[in-house]
Symmetry: C2
Subunit: 781 residues, 2 copies
């Protein structure tokens, strides 16, 4: 080891490039096989909800039908990568009915080969080729070995960063040649030092007895059902693991020689194609289908590290610390002084790789420094971390975190019993191979369920937008957040781009429809014209004229509301009699929210929110006004605080339900009931805090899509069609839902062009109506 290249480090520091060292283009691919509740490999097909696996960017299948592959999009930071992986894990887990994701690289209980189904692809030439390739692999390597799963870590440097280096160090080279040189250097060093990561991340020490008999026979039986080798770290990375039949020696001098060597292996029949070259570190090209030509033409696009095992102790198979550990080794590889990676070096690397994978936990294990010199694994590792420590001080950022990552790694180097592999062995000895992993799988599923409505890294977006993003991820649609504050996203399925805001503002609705719905008076006018019942009412532009009409309304049930309002703000409802004072106060409140207000007839019955999407009512909710149920001891205020403490309640439409506030309207409403916030409701007594039932003002959502008669749904659809809307929230009052709609036993009080969709996905009571998917269907994405 030559140590860090001082010239580069100096240039980095002088040009403030150290800020870019933790940035890059990162991506993770992770496989997990699906298993039943007992840990038997699933024989069911890949879930339909994930669409065409050949075109799904995030969720696909690897070798086997039961082998889910999750792919994070290219992002700038490892935090984002980790968060996306977490989302993929949650999304996939929650779509598996009665099945679990197996958290171990080594396979679960396997059936006979004929019941291991190779992944099915579509009927296109791409699909057929994908299947042919897998058939070849099954033939050549066997099916069971293909079920060994793991993590691929993809990385490239930012173009701007590379360009800065190029300006100083690229003299006489084209940019592509310079870029190739940089990536080849990183790749060579990663290959050279990969044993260190295998030691630290290796997590497949034990194999189930249903695995390949010939292999099992060479291993030691532990705990009845499973087998291992003493001191093994990673079965997957070891000699019986997923690798080529030979340790191929390839030139890493330049891209041309690299390509030439692989082409020779292919033409000699040793490899089926470039992608069968299972190098632990792969050079990746722009064009995946024609890698070698693309490498020659456009150069290396990114590197793929293929030797990381699934860490069963982490729900997502890897943790953020490990991602950074890999990145530190990448940087270390970049900033090392150049050394040749000749045949001897490659053979040494293969040797060390195998030694660590198979015997790494032996405290006295010595590795090769070169053909002639050996050294303790622990010492060799610590030498590398010495250099990495220097790098961390150059980086400057996240120092504490990175030092902890290094310290933990050194701790593992010094104490092999602290490695992941060792911990797994301990757990398996304590429980059993199957019990240990299945318990973890169940725990992870529970965790995913608890966070069902969350989309990690996108919590600042409105929940409805998160619902749509989640559906897009399931379907593998590329998305871009154009404006977080606006919840403005672009969805791109490769065929077209759709722009949406707040999930329901889309290209589907003409602006005129939005204008009509935005204006309650016009909405009523237009609906009335086609014979849909709407409450009678008047609009006012100043409070004095509204107040003058007291006599006009005094004997009616009325609602007083701002002309433009969202989420029920500023609305007051008088069901029976009301005083002139209350009437005037309500007018003032409404005018606080808009410069024109509406006073409307209040229709008798319950209010229902119909979500119309295209030609269908996709969900109906009865929204119950904010309320508390007494326990005979607590005051209304205490009950509210208790109800608000639920994790499902939050603020600003980022949780399924909203916090109940104690504002002027609530107090006025309690006052009308002769109560205040100190009143102690009886045990079981329900006290309503508002008349309006909007979820945004703390109401509860009760899904009743199945309970509503078709006649009402037809009216809702007609209303949406009348204003030309494709996405429309229809607020309908229904006197008696057990009776079919007549001319006057219902009334539409509002149409919403921007209906909250999350209410229909995460109702207070009821089932998820999967509105995100339905909006994507409507958008033809």
């Amino acid at each position: 080891m030559k140590g860090l290249d001082k010239e580069i480090i100096k240039y980095i520091c002088e040009n403030n490039l150290e800020r870019d060292l933790l940035k890059g283009n990162f991506g993770i691919e992770k496989e997990n096989v699906r298993v039943d509740k007992n840990g038997r490999l699933s024989t069911t097909p890949h879930p339909k909800v994930f669409g065409d696996r050949l075109n799904n960017l995030y969720i696909t299948t690897d070798f086997a039908e039961s082998q889910v592959e999750m792919v994070t999009p290219v992002v700038d930071t490892l935090e984002e990568t980790y968060e996306f992986l977490d989302n993929l894990q949650n999304i996939v887990s929650l779509e598996l009915e009665e099945e679990l994701l197996w958290p171990q690289s080594n396979p679960p209980i396997l059936p006979d080969d004929e019941k291991i189904y190779i992944a099915n692809f579509n009927d296109t030439s791409d699909g057929k080729e994908a299947r042919r390739y897998r058939d070849t692999l099954a033939e050549k390597y066997g099916k069971k070995i293909q079920l060994i799963s793991g993590i691929h870590y993809n990385f490239s440097l930012k173009d701007k960063f590379l360009d800065n280096l190029y300006k100083e160090f690229g003299k006489g080279l084209t940019f592509t040649d310079f870029k190739n040189k940089v990536y080849l250097k990183i790749a060579k060093n990663l290959l050279r030092y990969r044993w260190l990561l295998i030691y630290l991340t290796g997590a497949s020490p034990i194999v189930h007895k249903t695995y390949d008999e010939k292999i099992i026979n060479n291993m030691k039986n532990i705990n009845e059902e499973s087998y291992h080798i003493e001191d093994i770290v990673s079965f997957r990375n070891g000699s019986y693991g997923y690798k080529n039949e030979k340790d191929f020696i390839i030139s890493y001098d330049n891209v041309e020689s690299y390509v030439r060597d692989i082409e020779e292996l292919i033409s000699s029949g040793e490899l089926d194609s470039a992608r069968e070259f299972y190098s632990p570190v792969r050079l990746k090209a722009e064009e995946n289908k024609d890698t070698l030509n693309s490498l020659l033409k456009d150069g290396i696009k990114y590197l793929e590290l293929r030797f990381i095992d699934l860490n069963p102790f982490n729900k997502n198979g890897i943790d953020l610390e490990t991602l950074y550990l890999v990145h530190l080794l990448v940087l270390f590889s970049l900033f090392q002084e150049d050394e040749p990676f000749d045949e001897e070096s490659q053979k040494v690397a293969y040797k060390n790789h195998e030694l660590v994978a198979s015997f790494g936990r032996n405290k006295n294990l010595e590795l090769y420094e070169n053909f002639n010199t050996k050294n303790l694994l622990c010492n060799m590792g610590k030498n590398i971390f010495e250099e990495i420590r220097k790098l961390i001080s150059v980086i400057g950022e996240k120092e504490e975190f990175l030092i902890k990552v290094v310290d933990d790694a050194i701790d593992k180097l010094e104490n092999p019993n602290k490695t992941i592999a060792n911990k797994i062995v301990e757990k398996v000895l304590e429980k059993s191979y199957m019990d240990f992993h299945i318990e973890l799988a169940k725990e992870y599923l529970k965790e995913s369920k608890e966070n069902e409505f969350k989309l990690t890294g996108y919590e600042d977006l409105e929940l409805s937008t998160q619902v749509l993003l989640k559906a897009s991820i399931k379907r593998g649609i590329k998305f871009e957040i154009l404006d977080r504050k606006d919840n403005f996203i672009a969805l791109d399925n490769g065929k077209k781009v759709e722009y949406t805001k707040q999930a329901t503002k889309t290209s589907l609705d003409p602006y005129s429809s939005v204008m009509i719905m935005e204006n309650k008076l016009v909405t009523k006018h237009v609906l009335d014209k086609v014979g849909i019942r709407v409450p009678i009412g008047k609009d006012y532009f100043n409070s004095s004229s509204a107040k003058k009409d007291f006599t006009l309304f005094k004997d009616k049930s009325i609602v007083i509301k701002p002309k433009f309002t969202n989420f029920g703000v500023g609305i007051t409802i008088f069901k029976d009699t009301f005083s002139k004072e209350s009437y005037e106060r309500a007018i003032d409140i409404a005018f606080e929210h808009d410069d024109s207000i509406l006073i409307e007839e209040f229709l008798k019955g319950n209010e229902y929110r119909f979500l119309v999407l295209g030609d269908k009512v996709e969900g109906v909710l009865n929204r119950v006004p904010a309320n508390v149920v007494g326990d005979g001891k607590s005051s209304i205020e205490e009950l509210i605080n208790r109800k608000n403490s639920s994790p499902l309640r939050g603020e600003g439409h980022r949780t399924p339900l909203e916090i109940i506030t104690i504002g002027e309207i609530e107090k006025m409403f309690l006052n009308q009931q002769g109560k205040d916030i100190n009143y102690v409701p009886l045990d079981g007594e329900t006290v309503y805090l508002r008349e309006n039932s909007n979820i945004s003002t703390g109401g509860d959502s009760i899904d009743c899509t199945e309970d509503i008669l078709k006649s009402y749904k037809d009216i809702a659809i007609k209303a949406a069609k009348t204003v030309g809307a494709s996405i429309c929230g229809v607020d309908m009052i229904i006197e008696d839902i057990s009776q079919d709609a007549t001319k006057d036993n219902y009334g539409i009080i509002e149409l919403n062009f921007n209906p909250a969709v999350y209410m229909h996905c995460y109702p207070y009571k009821g089932v998820n109506r999967n509105i995100g998917e339905k909006i994507l269907d409507l958008l033809d994405l």
Copy 2:
């Protein structure tokens, strides 16, 4: 005359129905023939801009191709009727190139019959029938008589008012029978007393020598070129005027007998169809094509008074006072005690009609009270007005105005020399028939021109909305104002309804396009992606982070603006160097208007507003920032006040240009130039008051549609297409308009989804680009 029906009057007063007496459903039809500047009947076709005359609700042709008919829509008040008539008069006048509207019922200089062209209709069966009917009339009555023009006054009572009467007086009758009874009563009395209105409105005492020779020969030559009869009031209503060959006696007892009598006249061949029955008061049915059956089936829908002459002293052929005079006689007719209208009464009515029309100005003229009794016209008229005075006191509203209407009428009764007819005779004697009328026509055209941008009765709407309404009126499209404050209108061409707000918010744009344009950051992102140049920039959510970036921008030309802004509010531009203080102040100003702001690179060059409609750039404006030009004497403040006094400048987009304000931004901008509002610019010195050139902040609009090269127009169209917009205001900076667009000699700084269209219709300099019509084309209306 029996006097008012006291029972009805009592009921009206007791039930507060008097408020409804001045309301009703009113409509006016008015004909004017087109003439050249010398008063010769036009031989040119009806202007194309008025579309298909068979489907144009407001502007069509009557008998002759040169005979324009203007039809006001049904409205509630006479004020609205009058205003709409005024608009029609202005609109039609301004579309006639080199032609005038002849303001007299009697024809202008007529050519020989073969050069009087009968109106051409479309090729549909309706069009063919319209032509056939006119051919028949030409054959039967001659062409020249058909050119006599006039006014039809259409009226019905409000259904609610009729319903109130029905409840009290309709016992034993169906509502339709009751309604028929009411209208028959009004019709009978109007027929009985029509002589009074003919006396007061008659305005066709003189005929040009080119009129029918046979008729002229029976008249007295005056003033060389024209002819009259001594004391004539209305040639049009007289025996040579536009009437049936016989005075038909028809039963008015009930609709059935009325229909039966007319059917008999048709089957005997005396009438071509029901519409050839030229009764001075017609019973009108729901269905115009099948009047008689429709009358039997649905009853009388409204009454049509057909005997009112064009008043040449009014631009619009009639004044508001006269409209009310007619209405007073209608109400008088309604509230008179019922009297039979038998053969004798009808003959008396015919006789009085003819006497007044032909000899009305004879102070000693006696009319028939019945076959046996005669009385002075003046006395008989005054008796009627005595009853009308009583009615006015019942009505309560507009008392002063109505009393003046009555007083004027009585004055005319007492002084025949004050009648319109007499005044016309005086003027013709003074000048000549042709000179007098042509001078008036020219004066009226001048008046219309002066008010080119105004739409009477709609001045509270934004000017762009008025532009669209005006275009709709030209094309005869029915419109409804759904929300005046919102400038929200519905346009209905009979085939479909389109909703528009502020003229440019329509169904043409998907909501997603609006969203993109609304968000400057997203707009830039999307345009940049397709290779359209946009200025670089950053957005900020708080002022401190924006202020921190001072060093980032300090050497650049920049613009600081609220993220969501309309009309340039809150925008500051720094072209060259600027101080940290000014920078921070500008940030504060921008944050006053939105909670996020943009700081952007300021592109060199002039700014142009491209109005893209569909696939075309329909207008390009260079907007010049608010400015004053010095006279060497006045201060900036005085110059601003002077410029603001132009009637073209106003506030809130209701005039072609806006008032220049002297606000903080103007003061800061002057300050940057080392000036303040007290500075006296040199003679001819232009002082700019703002950097931004929005019309809304007092800028001037210079049309330069023809000067802009296609390459820029193509870019504007591409930008609109990229965001999916059909209506889009593209703000482009162009370095040098004489050079074609390259990659970087232009830049789009903003797209507007709600571009002001009036700027392109009434630019400070340039021509009207008729954007209203183009939006209608785009809407396929």
